[in-house]
């Protein structure tokens, strides 16, 4: 994608982004999504009025750092409980359509 932020999104961008996000978009609604996304990005463009070249991006509100835990087992094996709510499983595996022909 081009490095432009003029805040407008065309149908081609919607289709490309929808593919990246793995969401099927009905062809009739692509133009609508394009208009709505453009609206949001134009709102975001208001941020450009402030020069932030010397501002550090926020990493965490209270500047916390990632906590480390002891390298010990903390969870029990609950595979059956987790697989019971899956759409399709067999012998402890999750089933999906064939990936390799």
């Amino acid at each position: 994608m081009a490095d432009e932020t003029d805040g407008t999104v065309g149908n081609d961008i919607v289709e490309q982004v929808a593919h990246l996000a793995r969401i099927q978009i009905d062809p009739d609604s692509v133009a609508n999504y394009a208009a709505e996304m453009s609206g949001v990005l134009q709102l975001a463009a208001q941020m450009d009025e402030v020069d932030t070249s010397s501002v550090e991006p926020m990493a965490h509100p209270t500047h916390a750092v990632q906590r480390l835990r002891e390298d010990v087992v903390t969870e029990t094996d609950r595979r059956d409980a987790f697989q019971r709510i899956a759409p399709s499983t067999e012998n402890g595996y999750y089933l999906v359509p064939p990936v390799i022909e």
Binding site: R22, M37, L43, T52, M58, T62, A64, A81, V96, V99
Partner: protein, 486 residues
């Protein structure tokens, strides 16, 4: 019975005025009478609740009290995972999802003796400011059924306002506790980021999401927060810091407390009815010895633009987990793996969720990251610095919770940006990670309906106890929080 606060119900249970079974049955009956109209609950857990209430009564009779909420009914926003009870998050994606575990918040409130009456409706994946984005239909505001209750915790707010349940859990990513609390005339607190565990709370935007209490009074919010707050090793963003006792400080004097009034919140754009409510509240607080000074929050107007990049970006990443493979909706007859992903997600997610995923995916994609996400995170720093400077001068910041009272169902669904602008006063606290509370402070007449007005108090990090203290002191000298929709 239903007009009592949670604290008063506790006293009545202790005094034997009624039993927990009678109390829970009363609210279950109210839900049955009114939920068809309000659509505030997506599911009720009547049988389990009555079993738990009977057990609570038996334990009480033998002097065995589980905790501060022993035998008191509550409900959970349907974003909190409940073991064995469907947790939909307002989405078709999770329509049949039955979690195999409890969220920490659910576990803690249960351990304190609270009884769950059901799960409340919400905007899908907590994305919305009107509760019109739920797969299970819009929630109606008990003050005027043609109006929205606010969102995303709209079901919780409507349920508490309609006295279908005395208190609920909620979550707040950009105002989702405070804005519906204001629209429905109840009290809602968003704690400091990391104060309440997010374990088992379905993630939307992980740098912003925070759970909190919603009830009729600040005192009830304190009772709930006492149980909800605290470090949880299962949430990597949980803060390792002892919780305060939010109840014991409620009675403290607020004399000499300094409150800032941001010039930017009281400019010409503010609805006259909201301004009138706030001015009246300021006078009441002055009588209690609170001092007011004008302050500047210069970058507040950039909070909505920054939020609507950060939140969608994080949502696009968080919602990648819904793939139609491990749990949640799967499309029929997938042709291949890509088809399975694409159609399961297209069918499972609603329009607003899809739009946010698309915006977020775009904002994070190569070539755009610096211009959008990084820029927004820098704006967050500026907004946070504004607050830090303000808190060198003042204890709290007072302003409106919302730009207007509750609007009509369908009024703002046509233009997402117009809907987003409702969050202008609530988003800044989320971006900075600060705690904020919305408290009813007035009423306005509109088209023959009486609509509540909310004021917002924002505090410094981990200052929830003092926020609840000032809100409680205000509620001791006012009666807006006791008003019930006709």
């Amino acid at each position: 019975m239903h007009t009592l606060s949670l604290a008063a119900m506790r006293t009545a249970l202790d005094g034997g005025e009624f039993s927990s079974v009678e109390l829970c049955q009363h609210f279950i009956d109210r839900i049955k009478q009114q939920n068809e109209q309000l659509n505030a609950f997506v599911c009720t857990t009547e049988e389990q609740a009555l079993r738990d209430a009977r057990e609570a009564d038996q334990k009480r009779a033998s002097g065995d009290i589980s905790g501060a909420l022993h035998g008191l009914p509550i409900a959970h926003k349907d974003i909190f995972c409940t073991d064995g009870v469907t947790t939909t998050c307002g989405s078709r994606m999770l329509q049949d999802f039955v979690p195999p575990y409890n969220a920490t918040v659910v576990e803690k409130l249960k351990a304190a003796g609270a009884i769950c009456l059901g799960k409340t409706n919400m905007d899908e994946f907590a994305m919305g400011s009107s509760n019109e984005n739920s797969y299970f239909g819009a929630v109606r505001n008990p003050w005027d059924n043609n109006r929205v209750p606010g969102g995303s915790s709209g079901g919780s707010a409507a349920a508490v306002a309609g006295r279908l349940v005395p208190a609920c859990t909620g979550t707040d990513t950009g105002g989702s506790i405070r804005q519906p609390a204001a629209f429905c005339g109840i009290t809602g607190l968003k704690p400091t980021y990391g104060r309440v565990s997010r374990y088992g709370m379905i993630a939307f935007a992980s740098s912003l999401d925070q759970g909190g209490p919603m009830a009729t009074t600040a005192e009830d919010c304190a009772l709930l927060l006492n149980e909800m707050a605290g470090f949880d090793e299962r949430d990597s963003t949980s803060i390792e810091r002892d919780k305060d006792d939010y109840v014991s400080s409620l009675g403290n004097s607020v004399k000499g407390i300094k409150v800032g009034l941001p010039r930017q919140y009281f400019d010409a754009g503010l609805d006259a009815s909201i301004e009138a409510g706030l001015q009246q509240a300021i006078k009441e607080l002055e009588k209690l010895g609170v001092e007011f000074i004008e302050i500047d929050l210069a970058n507040q107007h950039l909070s909505v633009p920054a939020y609507y990049i950060v939140a969608p970006a994080e949502c696009s990443s968080n919602l990648a987990r819904f793939d139609g493979v491990r749990y949640g909706h799967r499309c029929d007859n997938p042709q291949d793996l890509e088809d399975l992903y694409k159609r399961s997600r297209a069918e499972g997610f609603g329009r607003e969720v899809k739009r946010r995923i698309l915006v977020g995916t775009y904002a994070l994609s190569a070539g755009y990251y610096d211009a959008y996400y990084l820029k927004a995170q820098k704006i967050r720093s500026l907004i946070s610095q504004d607050f830090s400077q303000a808190f060198e001068q003042v204890d709290f910041i007072l302003g409106p919770t919302t730009p207007s009272p509750a609007f009509k169902i369908g009024e703002k669904t046509g233009d997402p940006v117009e809907m987003y602008l409702n969050d202008i006063f609530t988003i800044p606290a989320n971006l900075a990670g600060l705690p904020g509370i919305s408290v009813p402070c007035g009423e306005v007449q509109s088209d023959g309906a009486s609509l509540p007005v909310g004021m917002q108090l924002i505090g410094n990090y981990f200052d929830e106890a003092r926020l609840l203290n000032i809100a409680h002191q205000y509620q001791k000298v006012t009666d807006w929080h006791t008003r019930i929709p006709a």
